[in-house]
């Protein structure tokens, strides 16, 4: 990396980390405004969308006479699948376009291509956490037992999900740089992912000889593991921490590596 350390502006003297924080803060303010500010309904949709999805699926299960899935109330079961999957399926397109849609701002040397990616990651995680808590608060008010059984593994599963999404998102930034059609291909992949990630079913509901059809999918593992942590009554037969951790490290390595290789091309 060519050194520009000596070509600095005369603004308050800051170290590299402070500059990055200031830049991410500046990006955060404008991204949030662009995302939620243009329509007052922005925040509403963030909560309403997963609720609508859960309502449709919940209705279907109620119609066929189920009140619980894998010993868990249908509503809770669905939300603990829909919400993490939503995070994953929103992070990938958001992160992958983070660099391409902020090119004009790389004119300022303070703004590194990875900054908008980090910004979008922060926004999506914050939205996810708030939506999760709002929905669970409402369910608690309705009389459900919404407190996770084991907090630490629950946060670990979510943390691994975030690392996987960040790594893949960063790798997709490089893909977007190379091929304009990447977003189309991406949605072709993430849409069917909804049906094989255990959003509306658990491993215990399918025969063991068919597990291998879903076993490759780290998101399936994560949803299984997070339900295992969330509900005392559910124990996952397939969720594998080791596999998910390796996958997370692999995607992080891939993402950072491709970013490093392409960093010069990103700003052009």
């Amino acid at each position: 990396m060519p050194s520009f350390s000596e070509l600095t502006h005369a603004a308050p003297s800051r170290n590299a980390f402070k500059i990055m924080c200031d830049t991410v803060h500046a990006l955060l303010m404008r991204e949030v405004k662009a995302r939620f500010g243009s329509s007052k309904l922005g925040y509403f949709w963030a909560v309403a969308e997963p609720i609508a999805q859960a309502a449709v699926l919940g209705l279907l299960f109620t119609l066929i006479g189920r009140t619980s899935l894998a010993n868990v109330p249908v509503v809770l079961f669905l939300f603990t699948g829909i919400l993490p999957f939503k995070l994953f399926s929103k992070l990938l397109p958001q992160l992958s376009l983070g660099i391409a849609s902020n090119k004009a701002l790389f004119a300022y040397r303070q703004v590194a291509p990875i900054d908008p990616v980090i910004t979008r990651l922060v926004i999506e995680i914050a939205t996810y956490a708030i939506v999760y808590m709002v929905i669970m608060a409402v369910l608690a008010w309705l009389g459900f037992d919404v407190v996770p059984d084991q907090l630490l593994p629950f946060f670990m599963a979510n943390g691994l999900l975030i690392i996987i999404s960040f790594g893949l998102g960063l790798a997709l930034c490089a893909a977007v740089q190379q091929w304009d059609d990447t977003p189309k291909l991406l949605s072709m992949v993430t849409t069917p992912m909804f049906y094989v990630s255990g959003v509306f079913f658990a491993a215990t509901m399918i025969p063991a000889q068919y597990w291998y059809l879903l076993n490759w999918n780290p998101i399936f593992h994560i949803i299984e593991l997070s339900r295992d942590a969330y509900f005392e009554s559910y124990t996952t037969p397939v969720g594998d921490w080791q596999y998910v951790t390796l996958f997370a490290l692999g995607s992080l390595f891939l993402g950072l590596g491709l970013y490093r290789i392409n960093r010069v091309r990103f700003s052009a």
Partner: protein, 222 residues
């Protein structure tokens, strides 16, 4: 002083690497303002961008103990979907200013584009863009040693030209300019020295007139 060490810049094209600069070694004495000369596509904007940290060299490096501005140009720097005010706020924030209100007002006063200041930049004419881009550097007390200007004054109306000329000469008494402009008269107004881009290399001339003569004999067909 700005030092170029083994600087190379190429762009990958279908016909292979196209070099803009190849192994440039040069020390630019920044005691005079410099006009950059070269035909279209020679690499004037690329040079400004590399100096401003908006683009990276393919090889080698550029170093300087001086405070160098970002590239002030019509492309880049301002994001189309954000309003002028939001752009200003953004630039203030990335420079570590927490009170952006003051900066916004200063730029608004300088730019004099009225209500358009709160409209998206993509609706601006190039003159209005230039006013905001230029106003940005006026508003902060950055104390730049070197101001990078890429074809910015060319698009303004008479008022804006007068105003920016005054500012460049007064506020930036100690600031030198590195300027790209296709009008020799404009260059003469601001710059005393010249930098000619020729054969993928940079040639510095102490006198702008010498650079202009060299440019004429190299590139202008009679």
């Amino acid at each position: 002083m700005i030092m170029f060490k083994q600087l190379s810049k190429y762009y990958p094209t279908k016909q292979g690497r196209r070099y803009i600069f190849k192994d440039v070694n040069l020390s630019l004495p920044m005691d005079k303002s410099i006009g950059v000369l070269g035909p279209n596509g020679a690499g004037k904007s690329t040079l400004i961008k590399i100096l401003g940290g908006a683009d990276y060299p393919s090889k080698g490096k550029v170093t300087s103990p001086l405070k160098v501005s970002w590239p002030l140009g019509l492309r880049g720097g301002l994001q189309g979907s954000m309003s002028g005010r939001e752009n200003v706020r953004f630039v203030a924030r990335i420079h570590g200013f927490t009170d952006t209100k003051m900066v916004e007002e200063k730029v608004s006063d300088f730019a004099e584009i009225g209500i358009y200041f709160d409209e998206p930049v993509k609706t601006y004419s190039s003159g209005m863009r230039a006013r905001v881009a230029f106003g940005l550097t006026m508003a902060f007390d950055f104390d730049f040693d070197v101001l990078l200007v890429d074809e910015l004054t060319a698009v303004g109306d008479t008022n804006f030209k007068k105003k920016s000329e005054k500012v460049l000469k007064n506020k930036y008494e100690n600031t030198k300019v590195i300027m790209v402009n296709h009008s020799a008269n404009e260059l003469k107004k601001y710059c005393q020295a010249g930098l000619l881009i020729k054969d993928q290399n940079l040639h510095y001339f102490d006198e702008l007139d010498h650079a202009l003569q060299e440019y004429q004999s190299c590139y202008v067909t009679h």
